[in-house]
C-alpha cells in the first residue's frame, strides 16, 4: 500500500504550489489511474514517487515505511516508465535491456533472465537485434515498458504509456499493463485517454491545480443517483432549462443534462416542445469517466 499524506510541493521561483495537501491511499495489487488536465500536478506527483523530487511537506510511505527508506532498502521497488522514449536510440533492443539491467545492479545471471522475461512480456522477440531508432512507435512503447519491468518492481509508475501508438499496440499495452498486478507489480497509470483508464483502472484519482478533486473506486464515481441525459437539438437550449437541469454544452447543439429522476423526462420534453426545440437525438444513461472528468475539471483550456 502506498500512502500519500498531506503532500505539498512548490517549484522554486513559482507562486502557486504544484501540489497542495495531497492525500491518497493507493492499494497494492491493482492498476491505479491518476487523471488530471495538463498542469494539474500529475507529473510532479509521479516525480515525487519516483524519487526525482523530494516533498516539501507531508509524507509518502510504501508498505508503512517512509518512501526514502523503502527505496534505500530496495532501490528497485519503484520503477518509472517516462512518457518519453527513455532509452538509447543507437543501441539495439537487447543492448538497451542489458544496459538498464546493468545499471539496476543486477547480477549477470539476473540480467539474462530478467531481460528474457521483459522481452517475452513485451513481445519483443522479433526485434531484439534491431536498433531502437528503427522500431515503430508501438514497439518503442513496448521497449520503454519492458525496461521498466527489468527490476521486477513492486510499484510501476507509467506516465502516459500509450501516446502515439496504433490501436493494436495500444490494446496490447493495455492488456499487458492490466496483467501486471497478477505478476506482483502494482501500477500507477496516468493518461489523458479516459476510455483506457475506464478499461484497466478499478481505482482512480482526479487531480487539478495541485489538489485531489475526487478519488476512489471508478464504479462509485460513475454511479450517479441522477440519470444523465444527452440531447441533440435543432436550436440552442433555452437558458432557463439549462440552469434548471445543470446543463453542460458538449457540442454545437449537444447538451448533457442532469435529471432529478427518470420521471422528469416527459416534463422536460414538453418544455422543449413549448420552446419550439426539436429533439434530434436523446440518450438517457449513466455518466462516463470523461463526463465526470469534464464536470470536475471544467472545460477551460489549460495550456
Amino acid at each position: 500500500m502506498l500512502r500519500i499524506d498531506g503532500v505539498s510541493y512548490r517549484y522554486r521561483n513559482t507562486d502557486a504550489p504544484a501540489l497542495r495537501d495531497i492525500s491518497l491511499a493507493i492499494p497494492a495489487g491493482g492498476v491505479y489511474g491518476l487523471l488530471g488536465p495538463n498542469g494539474a500536478g500529475k507529473t510532479t506527483l509521479i516525480s515525487l514517487l519516483a524519487g526525482l523530487l523530494t516533498a516539501g511537506l507531508g509524507e509518502i510511505s510504501l508498505d508503512g515505511q517512509p518512501l526514502a527508506v523503502a527505496r534505500a532498502e530496495n532501490p528497485r521497488a519503484i520503477a518509472l516508465v517516462p512518457q518519453d522514449y527513455a532509452f538509447y536510440p543507437m543501441l539495439t533492443v537487447s543492448e538497451n535491456l542489458r544496459f538498464f539491467a546493468g545499471v539496476l545492479g543486477l547480477s549477470a545471471a539476473e540480467q539474462k533472465t530478467q531481460s528474457a522475461a521483459a522481452i517475452a512480456f513485451a513481445r519483443l522477440e522479433q526485434v531484439v537485434g534491431k536498433r531502437a531508432d528503427q522500431l515503430s512507435g508501438g514497439l518503442r512503447r513496448r521497449l520503454n515498458l519492458a525496461i521498466g519491468l527489468l527490476g521486477r518492481p513492486q510499484l510501476l509508475l507509467l506516465d502516459e504509456p500509450t501516446v502515439g501508438v496504433d490501436p493494436q499496440s495500444r490494446h496490447f499495452l493495455l492488456d499487458a499493463i492490466a496483467a501486471l498486478p497478477a505478476a506482483g507489480t502494482s501500477v500507477i497509470y496516468t493518461s489523458h485517454y479516459m476510455e483506457e483508464v475506464e478499461a484497466i483502472c478499478p481505482q482512480i484519482a482526479i487531480i487539478d491545480q495541485g489538489q485531489v478533486l475526487v478519488d476512489g473506486a471508478l464504479s462509485d464515481l460513475l454511479r450517479s443517483p441522477e440519470p444523465l441525459l444527452e440531447l441533440t437539438l435543432d436550436r440552442p437550449l433555452p437558458a432557463e432549462l439549462g440552469e434548471r437541469y445543470a446543463a453542460r454544452q458538449e457540442g454545437a447543439l449537444k447538451y448533457c443534462l442532469e435529471l432529478p429522476s427518470t420521471a422528469a423526462l416527459p416534463r422536460l420534453l414538453d418544455e422543449l416542445a413549448a420552446a419550439a426545440c426539436t429533439v434530434h437525438q436523446l440518450n438517457l444513461g449513466q455518466h462516463n469517466l470523461e463526463q465526470v472528468f469534464m464536470q470536475l475539471t471544467k472545460r477551460s483550456l489549460r495550456d
Binding site: P82, A86, L91
Partner: protein, 410 residues
Amino acid sequence: MSPRLLALWLKESIALLRDRHGLLALFIMPTIFILVMTMALRDAFTPGVSIDVSYSVVDLDRSPLSQALIKRLKKGASFQLRDESTDLDAARRSLLDGEQNLVLVLPKEFGSRLLTPGGTDGRPAEPLTLLVDPALTPALQLAFRNQVMAALGAVRADELTSKAGQLFGLPVAPGASVAREWPDEIRSEAVRNDHNARLPSSVQQNVPAWLIFAMFFVVIPVSSIFIIERHQGTLQRLRAIGVPFRLILAGKLLPFFIVNQLQAVLMVLVGIFLVPLFGSEALALPERLPLLLEWWVVSAAVSLAAVAWALLVASLARTSEQATVVGGVSNILMGAIGGIMVPKFIMPAAMQKLAALSPMAWGLEGFHIVMLRHGSFVDLMPSLGRLLAFAILSLALAIWLNHRSLAAQS
C-alpha cells in the same frame, strides 16, 4: 569493479562506435591537418633550410674571384642556384618566363676591381646587378641582397687577407681562394637536455599540435550522446533508478579517454609512416622508455582535460546545435591562441602571453618538453598540473551545473 560503471562504459562505447561520422571526424580530420600543415610549415620549423626561390648568376667576368663569390653564395644554401652562365639575355628571358626569381649579374672586371670598388683611376667599379621577379616579396629580395652582400664581403676580406699576407710575408692558406673550402661559420642548434637529440622538425611540431586539437573535438560526440540522454528522458530514468550524476560522468570518461589514446596512436603512426610519403621528415619519438612514458602521461593529461571540457560543454548546452557551436568555436579559439594553428613562436609577444591561457598550449608545451627538449617529469609538472587542474575544475563545474539544474526544479 562496479557493474553499474561497467554497464555505463559499455553503453557509451557502443553508442560511440555507432556514430561513424563522429568517429571519422575524430580520426580523419587530424590526419589531414597533420599532413597538410606538416608540409605547409616544413621550412618554418627547420633552421637553415633552403628557401624555395631560385636564382641564376650571369658571370661576365669569369675570373677566379667571381667563381669564388658564386661558391660563397652556394654555401649560403638559403636560395637555390639554378643556373650559371654568361648569357644575360637568356637569363632575362628565363626571369620573364617565370622559370626563376632572381638573376645576379657579375660585371666584367669584377675580380680586378674587387678591392677597389671606388676606383683608383677615377672611375668607380661597375656594380653588381640584381634582376628580380616583381612578384617576389620584398622580404625575400632583401634577404637575397643581404646574402650577396655577405658573400661579397667575405670574398673581398679573403682576397685582402691573402694579398696582405703575401705582402708582409705572413703564412697564407695554400691554394687559390676560389678553390678553398670554407667551414660553416654559423651553425643552428636547438637547446635541449639530451645532446644526442635531433633538431625539431615540422612533423614533430605538428603531430602533437593536431593530436591535441583532435582530442578536444570529442566535445561533439560527448555532447551529442549527453543531449540525447537529457532530451529523451534517459537521464531522468537513470536518476529514478538511483544512478548518481557523477557515476554517469565517470561512465563517459573512460570510453572517450580510450578514443583519445587511439587517436594518439593513429596520429603517431601517421607521423612515422604517412608523412614521409608526402616528402617530409618522419616523426621521431623519443627512443628511451622513460621519455616514451612521459609522452604517454602528457597524452593522458591532455585527454582528461579534453573529455572533462567536453562534459562541461555538454552540461551547459541545451541543444546539439548549442553544443556544436560552443564546443567547436571554443576549440578553434583555444587552438588559435594556443599555438596549434599558428605556431606560437611567430605570434607577437602579446599573443604569446595570451597563449598561456589555452589548455591546448599547456598540452603542446608538455609534448615539446618531452619530444624536443627531452625534459624530465619535473620539467613536465607545470604543464601536467595545469591540465589536471583544468580537468578537475571542468568536471566540478559540470557536476555543479547538474545540481543547480536539479535545485531549480525543487
